[in-house]
Symmetry: C2
Subunit: 305 residues, 2 copies
Amino acid sequence: MAIDSEHSRAWRSAPVGIVGLGLIGGSIALDLRRHGLRVQALVHRAETAERARQRGLADLVSTDAAVLSDCALVVLALPLDRLLEPDPALVAAIPEQAVLTDVGSVKQSVLEVWQRLHGRFVASHPMAGTAQAGVDAGVEGLFSGRTWVATPNAQTELGALACVQDLAVLLGARWLCCPAADHDRAVALISHLPVLVSAALLQTADRAAAMADGGSSGTLGSLVRALASSGFADTTRVGGGNPMLGTLMARSNRTAVQLALAAYRQALGAMEEQLSAGDWAALEADLRQAQSLRPEFVSTDRSAG
Amino acid sequence: MAIDSEHSRAWRSAPVGIVGLGLIGGSIALDLRRHGLRVQALVHRAETAERARQRGLADLVSTDAAVLSDCALVVLALPLDRLLEPDPALVAAIPEQAVLTDVGSVKQSVLEVWQRLHGRFVASHPMAGTAQAGVDAGVEGLFSGRTWVATPNAQTELGALACVQDLAVLLGARWLCCPAADHDRAVALISHLPVLVSAALLQTADRAAAMADGGSSGTLGSLVRALASSGFADTTRVGGGNPMLGTLMARSNRTAVQLALAAYRQALGAMEEQLSAGDWAALEADLRQAQSLRPEFVSTDRSAG
């Protein structure tokens, strides 16, 4: 890409609009202010605006979409459902010349919706944790060392793409571009599937114990609760997360999640057959492969964090 | 139980025999020495004995089973396979009057084997992490606040049981008795099933990506590895563990693990149907239930640890 850096940095001299001040929006806002940029934020509720002002998340916080009028870059830091069915007043308030990006965890559907609505839209997804939510969740440095994925297509304007890249790099993220369909298939495997797999584990521990007890609060039910330790805590962490968010992800990335589930059913089914057949060599080979795969996905430092 | 405490503490005035100085055996040995008790350890290899001496794990370390001859309490801190097919020389060396216990993570099969071999055997399982292994893994205070399960049956001698309870409580553990079959069904659900579920997730992320790439090292394969973050790291931690240990657990607790897998297949299958049907309300209800279940299994402090 032959975008000169002066051009890609032009957005820095105008206010940046942030729509939504949850974990991602709030963290972007804090980092931008730390870099001396002016942040103007649009939020839904008056109480959120008040709390955001108390926290100093932005230079200007409003519930009126007109707050975006002089922004050269606008970041839609909204939940997936509000990205996919956007408020017409919001759409109308985004300046035609502004570069627009989002932070949604599913990209193909978001790209389809917003590319139609705004010429300078760039679909993007900063890969940052979602354990915390709300106006108190935003922190400085959230994106440092994390991957920030963009999913441009043939219609994406290169100047707009370079601007979003400059934002990501300014915030310390590693920039990565790929097709939206690849992004969605990848996150189905490493983010959305684990939520379902993990939630099913909690349900199973509860239901199978209750069934063995012949009721709902017997001996085995107490025992599984008393004996669950750090391994169970790790494996069930994402399954115990926000149910609305999990449902939105599955809903917005349905086909890819269905394919991931089918592949998963096959892998687990093979282990079930190994147990039935008493084929311990095959089971150990499978577990050995899993052990050798993990470091390819999880670097030691990230694993420890 | 009407066991007087003086009687149950008599073991403290004689040497304690520890067979195996891995994470569990080494940690028990360190704690006992800290309490001023004399520890005499039996290990398999001369190099292990040498390293154990360097670390000061025991007062006496030997590869000769005669080291157990004057012990009033002997702890079998061996891997499951060596518990289930014990060395005849070891069995012969355990003093007939000694209280004997083990630390295996499966209890019914261990109880069957050892109750036949030794009159004063108590099957037990201290629930402590297994991320580290070997003679360098043992640490002080490993059992503090953790649950130590014993699985007595009608043949278990109450005096021997009280002695093992005194050991567990001395080391700061929470004592819990239940039937061996209940223990095995509980750990199948909260410990053995998670290993398989977690390993299958690693395999799926690898295989489904490779299949989509039509090869073994294409775009999606790189992408899943680049995008995997803390959620994937958490969910796959136990699946990336020791494959021999995972296989031994499944093998020694086969029926309970098979039942757990069948129940799990049903729970995940229900979610798969919700996705096919687009029944988002039902999926959200399932995820909401998982969210509300997790705190029953994982206390906040343990989760953070």
